[in-house]
């Protein structure tokens, strides 16, 4: 009799263990995407680049305006109607509109653009740096990060997938001299939390930005 009761006990334990396992295994793992909307920033999702092109054919540069939140025709290259350019491989190099910078697509035009890389999260960037910082730390464009701390993505060595650098925000001076901050989230369609396919369609850009319209350096977006 005793033997039977211990077996019963074992079976009970077994059932409990099975129930625990079942509870663990029942849910499906979701890859959670970060919340981009903060009430003041503009979120752009899946802005298509020169889709269908390859490294061999090259990618056609396109231009984007913060004011209209849309693409600007390349004929208006030498004007202040655009703020950032998307150029080179996978349109992934984000450039400024600056009339005096030879590397800028706005060279020779009226643009006053500049960009600096800040190692802080988008929410934590609350003020644009000084003009001196723009002068000394400014770059012409940001894209792949070879380890210099400026680019917005790197390639994972094993999966060959472009992964955005976390905690890196870009502060810009727009074409007409206002201050703005920009976070580049993804170059893959749907901006998934994790890209799991080598052939995931790109370039489709997801990013958010905030332009301080009053001309001040205040870039605070979270209350």
């Amino acid at each position: 009799m005793k033997l039977i009761s211990t077996y019963k006990n074992h079976y009970q334990k077994l059932l409990i263990a099975m129930a625990v396992v079942a509870a663990f295994s029942s849910c499906t793992k979701e890859q959670v995407k970060p919340q981009l909307e903060d009430g003041s920033s503009t979120v752009v999702t899946d802005l298509p680049g020169d889709v269908g092109s390859t490294i061999n054919t090259g990618f056609k540069t396109f231009y984007f305006s913060f004011a209209t939140n849309g693409k600007v025709d390349s004929s208006a290259k030498k004007s202040t109607s655009w703020d950032i350019s998307f150029a080179r491989e996978y349109n992934s190099y984000i450039g400024i509109n600056n009339g005096t910078n030879e590397g800028s697509y706005g060279f020779g035009g009226p643009g006053k653009g500049a960009i600096v890389s800040i190692n802080q999260t988008y929410d934590d960037v609350k003020e644009a740096p000084s003009d001196a910082d723009f002068q000394s730390k400014g770059v012409t464009s940001v894209g792949w990060d070879p380890g210099n701390g400026l680019g917005w993505y790197f390639y994972d060595l094993k999966t060959h997938i472009a992964v955005p650098v976390k905690g890196r925000t870009y502060v810009l001076r727009t074409a007409d001299g206002k201050y703005a901050k920009l976070e580049l989230v993804s170059m893959y369609k749907g901006a998934p939390a994790v890209v799991t396919d080598l052939n995931w369609p790109s370039p489709y850009f997801t990013f958010r930005y905030y332009v301080q319209q009053d001309g001040s350096r205040n870039l605070s977006t979270k209350n």
């Binding site: 499906t28 793992k29 490294i55 190099y93 060595l157 997938i161 396919d197 995931w200």
Partner: protein, 784 residues
């Protein structure tokens, strides 16, 4: 090198010696139903002389001195039987032995007597490193259809996607080693056809597999290059004693359809035998990616396999054996992310064929002379349907020819000496290499398995190999087994492994136009191709290590293994084994240059020194007759020593970690390093099996656990997996099956459910959701 082969060959010939027979013991082994038991092992306890029964269950052991002997009779699936025989001046004949069917355990069964293999004289379960055998019965009870499904439920084995090599790159991980380091064999000969080193086991049906043998640990000492991590050997149907046939149909989730038709028969009064088996399998595939609007992450496919064997006894000494397998797989996977779709088309053809002459001398010497051919052809292309642009992905034809002579002889009833020699020629025609590439290898190996006493056994082996490119290499191994008391067996082994660079690492010239535009160059073509890119003005920076790209050396490992088996009670057995693999010259890609747009150019280096160490534990518990519980667990640490050194030294990117909690970059610590990607620290499984023979009912319930494993880097590139990177979460998979036999065992119905809780994760593209299948089987055989 040639001298070694000559020596080996001569020593084989010398084994053919004659001896006077004294007395003999002969008889017949049958089962409870009265059918003869084929390939049962008969062992004389006193002098360890042994033999196996033939297809009629008959056996003879000769040259015995008068005395009292204990026969130990064992066979796969039967309980061990002991019998006392006394020889007093006359031979003893007509011994009748009845074996009782044993209640089996679904996990690893250690087998004393086993089916004789005509294709391979090496007993894989008697090599120094730990081995596992999965029997036909276990596969049938699980209701598995493809080889990957069977293997992923075994302790220490995992099926993983290699994301960086494309959506179709899936392979077997063994003790933390990537798929490229495990040799996949069919009847003792290597199978080819890998996608960047990944051997996709779903191309192999388990229909007509008699058993699967797995060696965990370096086995280059017997099987050469590629067996650095271990070996998976598929043993097809071996021994045919009566005419029978099988028709099997299964259908279930995702329109998965599996049909098998097979027949076997002896002919020419038992002198010949043959079987033929055909299998058709199709599946709609499965999608684990919520972003896909069309298409699958586990691609749909259909596959046809035809497999057969013919055996004919030419003379009492000689038998000719012919085996063949041909499989075709077609797969079309049209994928879209709410975009214009792209179509990924794969056509794969796989041939394996062997002609074997088995010669068994009356002295006990067994010889095998074999020619083996395998051909693997794959065409995989991705077409972007927006502009019909075709991106060639994986297109090649690979041939391997091998001639091999194997010999085995038992000395003094206690030492089994097995040796072999052969040559191998391999060609590869890949559109990503310039022209057809070839390599050849000549090899000789020998293994001695010596039972010094009832308590102590030694195993030693060595393989010498001469490679057309890498010259000679010698791989020894040594194992010891000690059984101080009946309930306890202690085991320890050391073996070396090596792997010569594959064609890809030498000749690849690949730019992934669809996936980022990175370029990978094999070391042989590196200098010329880099110069071409330089001349075209595409190169931004060439790193200092580019000058170091040169001839690759073979990868090498030393594997240590030690453990014990403890029979705690007659019903409970524990197996504990620790392993340590020290790998040198580990070939890995490293960036050598950057193109103007930042795309990487990679080549291959012998850069890494890695270690893969851990332990595996197996427990089996026979609760009552027919009800068994078994459990397995593997602990694994797989790390690159180069990374540890770089973190310590604070080299470049290795020095920093982005801490997502503090949102700050901080100095990295060695403890931040999790290990190589795709490896779980903890893996476990529990299997419940139930068999109620009188009613012909069997059932299984299996739980598989995989601890979290690294997927890729996130946040900041520091070239190693830190705690803040992307991980695949730990998970449980639940599988069950139940089977009922009807109509005097002719007919059976089986219901299987894999992944019962429908667990899915976007980071595991190859893992299907809940799969429920209903199977019907009909066996044709003569009722006794």
């Amino acid at each position: 090198m040639f001298k070694i082969y000559l020596l080996l060959y001569l020593s084989c010939l010398c084994l053919v010696t004659s001896a006077q027979s004294l007395y003999k013991i002969s008889g017949q082994v049958r089962n409870e139903q009265g059918d003869p038991v084929n390939a049962a092992s008969i062992l004389i306890k006193e002098n360890l002389r042994g033999t196996q029964t033939d297809t009629m269950g008959r056996f003879v052991i000769d040259k015995l001195k008068p005395g009292n002997y204990t026969l130990i009779i064992s066979a796969l699936g039967y309980e061990k039987h002991f019998m006392q025989v006394a020889i007093e001046g006359a031979s003893v004949g007509n011994i009748h032995i009845r074996l009782k069917t044993s209640a089996q355990n679904l996990k690893e069964v250690s087998v004393l007597g086993k089916q004789e293999s005509h294709d391979n004289l090496i007993d894989l379960t008697r090599t120094p490193m730990p081995s596992t055998v999965i029997t036909r019965k276990q596969i049938e009870m699980m209701g598995s259809r493809r080889l990957d499904e069977v293997l992923k439920e075994q302790t220490g084995l995992a099926i993983v996607n290699d994301i960086g090599s494309g959506a179709r790159a899936v392979g077997l991980q063994l003790q933390g080693f990537d798929s490229g380091y495990t040799m996949i064999m069919i009847d003792g000969q290597p199978m080819t056809g890998r996608n960047s080193g990944n051997f996709d086991l779903s191309r192999i049906t388990v229909a007509n597999i008699e058993r699967i043998e797995i060696i965990k640990g370096a086995s280059s000492c017997l099987f050469g290059s590629e067996a650095l991590a271990g070996v998976v050997n598929i043993v097809t149907r071996q021994n045919i004693s009566q005419s029978q046939g099988l028709a099997s149909l299964r259908y279930g989730s995702f329109n998965t359809f599996d049909a098998t038709l097979e027949g076997e028969t002896p002919f020419a009064k038992g002198k010949g035998s043959g079987y033929i088996s055909g299998n058709y399998y199709r599946t709609d595939g499965f999608n684990a990616n919520p972003y896909l609007s069309e298409g699958k992450t586990a691609p749909p496919y259909d596959s046809y396999t035809i497999q057969g064997r013919g055996r004919y006894t030419l003379s009492p000494m000689n038998a000719l054996n012919v085996t063949g397998r041909y499989a075709v797989r077609n797969s079309v996977n049209q994928t879209a992310y709410s975009t214009t779709p792209s179509r990924d088309v794969l056509v794969e053809k796989d041939l394996n064929a062997s002609a074997i002459l088995n010669t068994n001398f009356s002295t006990g010497l067994r010889l095998k002379t074999q020619y083996y051919l395998t051909r693997y052809a794959t065409d995989q292309n991705i077409t972007n349907l927006a502009d019909d642009q075709v991106i060639p992905t994986n297109n090649f034809v690979q041939y391997l020819h091998r001639g091999e002579l194997q010999a085995s002889q038992t000395f003094w009833g206690s030492m089994v000496l097995t040796g072999g020699t052969g040559i191998q020629y391999e060609t590869m025609n890949n559109n990503l290499y310039s022209g057809v590439k070839s390599q050849s290898t000549a090899f000789a190996y020998a293994q001695a398995d010596w039972k010094l006493s009832d308590e102590l056994g030694l195993t030693g082996g060595v393989r010498g190999e001469h490679h057309s490119r890498y010259g000679s290499s010698l791989n020894p191994s040594f194992g010891v087994k000690y059984q101080p008391i009946k309930a306890l067996t202690l085991k320890a082994a050391i073996a070396t492994g090596f792997k010569t660079p594959d064609f890809r690492q030498l000749y690849l010239n690949f730019t992934n136009l669809a996936g980022g535009g990175y370029t990978v160059l094999g070391t042989d073509v590196f200098a010329a191709e880099l110069q071409k890119l330089k001349d075209a003005g595409q190169i931004a920076t060439v790193f200092a290590n580019a000058t170091k790209v040169s001839t690759l050396k073979p990868e090498r490992s030393v594997a240590y293994s030690a453990g014990f088996t403890l029979q705690i009670t007659p019903a409970i057995k524990a197996d504990v084994n620790g392993f340590y693999n020290d790998v040198r010259n580990f070939i890995n890609t490293d960036q050598v240059a950057t193109k103007n747009g930042g795309q990487q150019i990679f080549s291959y280096f012998n850069i890494d020194r890695a270690f893969l160490t851990g332990a595996d534990v197996g427990l089996s518990f026979r609760v009552t007759k027919g009800f068994n519980i078994s459990a397995g667990y593997q602990l694994l640490y797989a790390k690159d020593r180069g990374v540890i050194d770089s973190i310590k030294a604070g080299t470049g990117n290795y020095a920093q970690v982005y801490d997502t909690d503090t949102r700050q970059v901080r100095r990295s610590k060695v403890s931040d390093y999790f290990g190589l990607t795709n490896r779980s620290r903890h893996m476990a499984n529990v299997k419940f099996t139930y068999e109620y023979e009188p009613k012909g009912i069997t059932g299984t319930f299996r739980v598989n656990y995989r601890g979290k494993y690294g997927f890729q880097e996130a946040n900041l590139s520091n070239q190693f997996l830190d705690p803040y990177d992307t991980y695949v979460s730990s998970f449980f998979l639940l599988n069950a099956s139940v089977q009922k036999k009807l109509m005097n065992n002719h007919f059976s119905v089986q219901l299987t459910a894999d992944n019962i809780m429908n667990y899915r994760d976007q980071l595991m593209p190859g893992q299907s959701g809940r799969t429920v299948m209903l199977g019907l089987n009909y066996r044709f055989f003569k009722q006794q």
